[in-house]
Each structure stands twice: as structure tokens, then as C-alpha cells.
């Protein structure tokens, strides 16, 4: 048994080594996340155009932003897209999960089929759906070939309807994942409660509406948070599917920010739009994280 009396430096090292190991990550996060947020925040109060400038102009960019028709379109589209995307994903996910939870033969085959789109890049999804929704090549053409000549489905070319095609593709990509979340939630419910409810004479319908679905509240919350933040960040899908068009009909805050910052040389306006996006996400995420971290420790 060797007994080395540790020097002061050695015991000091033991104390600080864990923090030392953590520090590169902390440094990166502080600079690249929080430092950058501050930097972008600062830029949003300047007159930066093609290059960053440090001359403050107060709230001019924000008033400018809210006066932009494109920005208002982007927000409006985000509202339509976000609400439909979240709602349809949740409803579809819940229904599929409940159906799949009925001792379905072949569940092992169906589940991965529902889920695989999540593994794909939005760019791939966008490429596939762009073509599928194209009136000349896709669904409409197919229906015509099959003899249904009056069938029209040209939303992707329609200024008023194009945003809904984004919803269709996004739901296709994410609903299977929401299904998996609900399925895990369903499988986690205590079977004894359900037996008790059945002894109480609950019908199939009331078993689900009164007992099971209310218990899935945490899953709804998690799904909402994940989907909401995906919706606000949504960028790639729009680029690949419609590229913001026709015209600017499918502009979203993310595409707005990108084009103003990098192609229209209005960096300060782009920065202010990014700040608004961050604020939207923070409003959803911060309370969620706060409650999650509170509960679990």
C-alpha cells in the first residue's frame, strides 16, 4: 500500500478538474450562444446593412419591421402553419397511437413506416412533396390519367393555398414522431386504473376521453413544445418546397430573416426579426424548462 502525501497543488487539481473539464463547453456556449444573442440583439438597434455597423438607431428597425408587409405575411403564415401543424400532428398522432394500441397485428411493421419520415432531411421531404403536389406531374396528373379529369389540386401554385402545402409536408414528416410519443404515453398508463374504470362500467369511449387522454397531458405538453419550436425554426422545408413562393406567399420568419440579412443587405432588420423569433421561442421554452427542472430535482 503506497501512501503518498498529496501536495497542495495535487488536491487543488482534484478540486478544480471537474470544472476544468466543463469549462470548454461552458465557454463555447457562453460565447456562441449567449454572446451571439447579445451581439444580434445589439445589431438590431443599429443601422447595419450589408456589414455590421455599431451606430445605434434606437427602435427604428423594429418599427420598420412591423411596417413591412413581408414580415406581417411571415407572421400570419407562421400563425396558420404553426396552429395547423401542431393541431394536426397532435390529433393524427393521438389517433394513430390509440389505434395502434389495440393489439394490432403488424404493429412492428406499421410503427416504423409511420416514423421513418422523421429520419429524413427537410430538403428531401420538400423535394418529394414539391413534385408530388405539382399539378402537371404529381397527384393531379395521376388522377387525370386514372380518368378523373375534373380533379384539381394546384395549391402549391396558388398564393392563397400554398402555405397549406407546407403544412401537409410538415405533418407528413413529424406526425409519426408525435404518434410514438403518445404511444409511449399510452403504454405508461397504470393498467390497474383502467381495470378499475372498467369495473366502474366505463365504456370504451369514456375510458379514453375521461381516463386515458387526460392522463396524457404531459405528452401533449412535450409534443406542443417540440412542435412549436420546430414551427418557429422552420426554414429548410419552405426553401425546398416553395422557396417562399409563389411570390412571397409562403414566407416565414426564418426565411424572412435569411433573405433580409444575406440577400437584401438589411442586416439590422434581419437581426431584429431574429430577436423576435428568439422571444417567441423563449416564451414557450423557458417556462417549460423551468417547470421540468423544478420537478425533477
Amino acid at each position: 500500500m503506497s501512501f503518498t502525501v498529496p501536495g497542495k497543488t495535487q488536491s487543488m487539481l482534484r478540486e478544480i478538474l471537474p470544472r476544468l473539464v466543463l469549462s470548454p463547453s461552458l465557454f463555447l456556449i457562453l460565447i456562441f450562444v449567449y454572446g451571439f444573442i447579445l451581439f444580434t440583439g445589439y445589431l438590431s438597434f443599429t443601422d447595419s446593412r450589408m456589414l455590421p455597423s455599431f451606430d445605434l438607431v434606437g427602435l427604428a428597425n423594429y418599427t420598420n419591421l412591423w411596417g413591412q408587409r413581408n414580415w406581417m405575411t411571415a407572421l400570419q403564415n407562421l400563425a396558420i402553419f404553426g396552429i395547423l401543424y401542431i393541431a394536426i400532428c397532435c390529433i393524427l398522432g393521438l389517433i394513430l397511437a390509440i389505434f395502434l394500441d389495440q393489439k394490432i397485428r403488424g404493429e412492428g411493421i406499421l410503427r416504423p413506416i409511420y416514423l421513418y419520415p422523421m429520419a429524413l432531411s427537410f430538403i428531401v421531404t420538400g423535394t418529394a412533396w414539391k413534385w408530388f403536389l405539382d399539378p402537371g406531374l404529381g397527384l393531379e396528373n395521376t388522377m387525370h390519367m386514372w380518368g378523373w379529369s375534373s380533379f384539381t389540386f394546384n395549391w402549391i401554385k396558388d398564393r392563397n393555398m400554398a402555405i397549406y402545402t407546407v403544412v401537409i409536408a410538415a405533418v407528413w414528416q413529424s406526425s409519426g414522431f408525435v404518434m410514438a410519443m403518445f404511444l409511449a404515453g399510452l403504454r405508461g398508463i397504470d393498467g390497474e386504473i383502467l381495470k378499475a374504470a372498467q369495473m366502474d362500467g366505463a365504456s370504451n369511449w369514456s375510458l379514453y376521453t375521461r381516463i386515458i387522454i387526460p392522463q396524457l397531458r404531459p405528452v401533449f405538453l412535450s409534443a406542443f413544445v417540440v412542435l412549436a419550436h420546430l414551427a418557429i425554426k422552420a426554414y429548410d422545408l419552405v426553401v425546398a418546397l416553395t422557396n417562399g413562393g409563389p411570390g412571397r406567399a409562403t414566407e416565414l420568419p426564418a426565411t424572412f430573416m435569411y433573405s433580409y440579412t444575406f440577400t437584401r443587405n438589411q442586416m439590422a432588420v434581419g437581426a431584429s426579426s431574429a430577436v423576435i423569433m428568439l422571444a417567441m421561442i423563449a416564451a414557450i421554452i423557458v417556462p417549460y424548462l423551468y417547470s421540468e427542472l423544478r420537478e425533477h430535482r
Partner: protein
């Protein structure tokens, strides 16, 4: 598990209801498979057949030509290089970024659970929030910094970007996994004379297989599928696969070779699809861990 469901269905649901249930489920399976089917089928048709025919029909003249074109001769920029160099770019990007971010995440998770110190929860909170920020908020300063440190337009620069913005998730994964790892084992290792590093390499790491798989899959799919960072920070020579694919598909010059586009899209999707097929169980776990904290 869901014994209640089987009981209920055995008692309540008639054959008709059961049939309807299956019909709905199969209908949705078709919905999810259709776009992939269309891509696959049309990637082996000739362009003429696509233009004149039905996207649903099977190819009359099977051709592998679009795949070869997409891979090695399709025009992405000025040169007819195909997607191959960009596929390679993505590989050179993904592998180091995944390894570095997973390693750092594992160390962070280890410190945050087993070597706790005052303020560690705040640090974890800061890292966690970083998972959710809209990346638009960091695009402008990131472009500046990459330029300042001489990494603008390079694969190394993209590796840095993906490491930084993947850290939150990898830390989260490992932290949650190690939180459930018994503290007594760490105490025992201390009594046995293992220090900070040997406790990690000899005790924790050998038991971390499942969470390493989850983290690697998560990071791999996220980084491989990324478009925003690639489009913002890569130049032509370091362009990742997704960006190249988008350029190929949306280039407005020349004839639109749909069959080549589809072949390219499937090529871009292939690595993540393979990962998903090989380890779907872990893939789901990764997605869920990213969604549900605890």
C-alpha cells in the same frame, strides 16, 4: 403493457370495427410511404417516361442511369461533378462533429451528475436552453467569427458550428443517463483509488453503450440533415449534401431531370435511413429524450 386494450377489443369491438381500424392504419401507412415510393419508382424511369406517364406507375424501361448521373455527373455548380464530392463533404463534416460533441457531452454529463458543485444547475439550464434557440439569432455573428478565425467556408468551420449547437443535446442525454447511474459506484471507485478520469473511463464509460448509441444517432441525423448552417457558412468546396441537393433540384438552368433529382434525394436520405432501419429503437429513444426531459 396494454392488456386493457386487448380486453376491451375482445369484448367490445366487433369484426367490422376491427376491419375499419386496420383500414385506417393501412391507409396511413400508404400516406407515409407514398412519397418515398414515388421517388423510388421515378428515379429508375427515363425522363420521357416521367413526362408522358403516371408517377404512380412502375417503370416500363428500368434504368439505373439517373442514379449514376446524380452520383457522378450531374451539374451542381459549373463542373459536372455529381453529388459524390458533397456526400464526401458531409461525411467529413459529420464524423468529427459527432465524435467531438458526443465526447464533450459525455464529460459534461459526468461532471454535472457526479461531481456537482454550486451553480451546476444554472450551467445545465444555460446549456439546455441553447438546444432550442432559433439559429437565425446566431447566423450573423457566427459568419463574422468564422471569418475572424479563418474558418469561413471550410468544413472545419462547420464542424465547430455543429459541435457548439449540438452540445446542449449531447449534454442533456448523458446527464439524464448518468443521473440514473448509482452514486455508490462512484463512491466505491473513489475508495478504490480511482480519480476523476479513471472513474469515468473505467466505470462509467463501459456502461454507457446505450446512451452513446442514442447520442450518435441523434447527432448524426441532425448534422447530416442540416441545411441552414451548410447554406450559410459553407462555400462551394465544403458544401454539404443537403445544400448540394437543393442546388441540383432548384437550379433553373437547363432541363429539369426529375429522375436525377429523385435519385439524388434518395442518396441524400440514404445514410440517415440506414441508421434508422438498423437502429430504429434507439432512434426513437433519441427523439423522445430530446422531447421529454427528466
Amino acid at each position: 403493457m396494454s392488456s386493457y386494450a386487448s380486453q376491451k377489443s375482445a369484448i367490445g369491438a366487433g369484426k367490422l370495427v376491427r376491419a375499419a381500424l386496420y383500414a385506417v392504419l393501412i391507409l396511413f401507412a400508404v400516406y407515409y410511404l407514398l412519397p418515398l415510393f414515388v421517388m423510388l419508382v421515378n428515379s429508375v424511369k427515363t425522363l420521357d417516361e416521367i413526362r408522358g406517364g403516371n408517377m404512380m406507375s412502375l417503370p416500363e424501361h428500368f434504368t439505373f442511369e439517373p442514379w449514376l448521373t446524380a452520383w457522378s455527373t450531374a451539374q451542381i455548380g459549373v463542373e459536372p461533378t455529381g453529388l459524390r464530392p458533397f456526400f464526401v463533404n458531409s461525411l467529413f463534416l459529420v464524423v468529427p462533429a459527432v465524435v467531438i460533441s458526443a465526447t464533450l457531452g459525455a464529460l459534461n454529463g459526468y461532471v454535472l451528475t457526479k461531481w456537482r458543485f454550486p451553480g451546476d444547475k444554472i450551467i445545465f439550464g444555460l446549456m439546455l436552453f441553447a438546444c432550442f434557440i432559433p439559429f437565425q439569432i446566431v447566423l450573423i455573428p457566427m459568419a463574422r467569427i468564422l471569418g475572424l478565425i479563418g474558418l469561413a467556408g471550410t468544413t472545419s468551420g462547420l464542424v465547430l458550428v455543429h459541435v457548439v449547437y449540438g452540445l446542449g443535446f449531447t449534454t442533456l442525454f448523458f446527464r439524464n443517463y448518468y443521473a440514473a447511474f448509482p452514486d455508490e459506484l462512484i463512491k466505491a471507485a473513489k475508495m478504490d483509488g480511482a480519480g476523476f478520469i479513471r472513474t469515468f473511463t473505467r466505470i462509467l464509460l463501459p456502461s454507457s453503450g446505450p446512451i452513446i448509441v442514442v447520442t450518435v444517432i441523434w447527432q448524426f441525423t441532425n448534422i447530416w440533415n442540416d441545411f441552414l448552417f451548410g447554406a450559410s457558412f459553407a462555400d462551394f468546396d465544403s458544401m454539404p449534401m443537403t445544400v448540394a441537393l437543393n442546388n441540383l433540384v432548384s437550379s433553373s438552368t437547363g432541363v429539369k431531370e426529375y429522375n436525377v433529382h429523385f435519385a439524388g434525394a434518395i442518396l441524400a436520405a440514404l445514410p440517415t435511413l440506414v441508421v434508422y432501419i438498423v437502429s430504429g429503437r434507439y432512434f426513437v429513444r433519441g427523439l423522445m429524450a430530446g422531447a421529454v426531459k427528466g
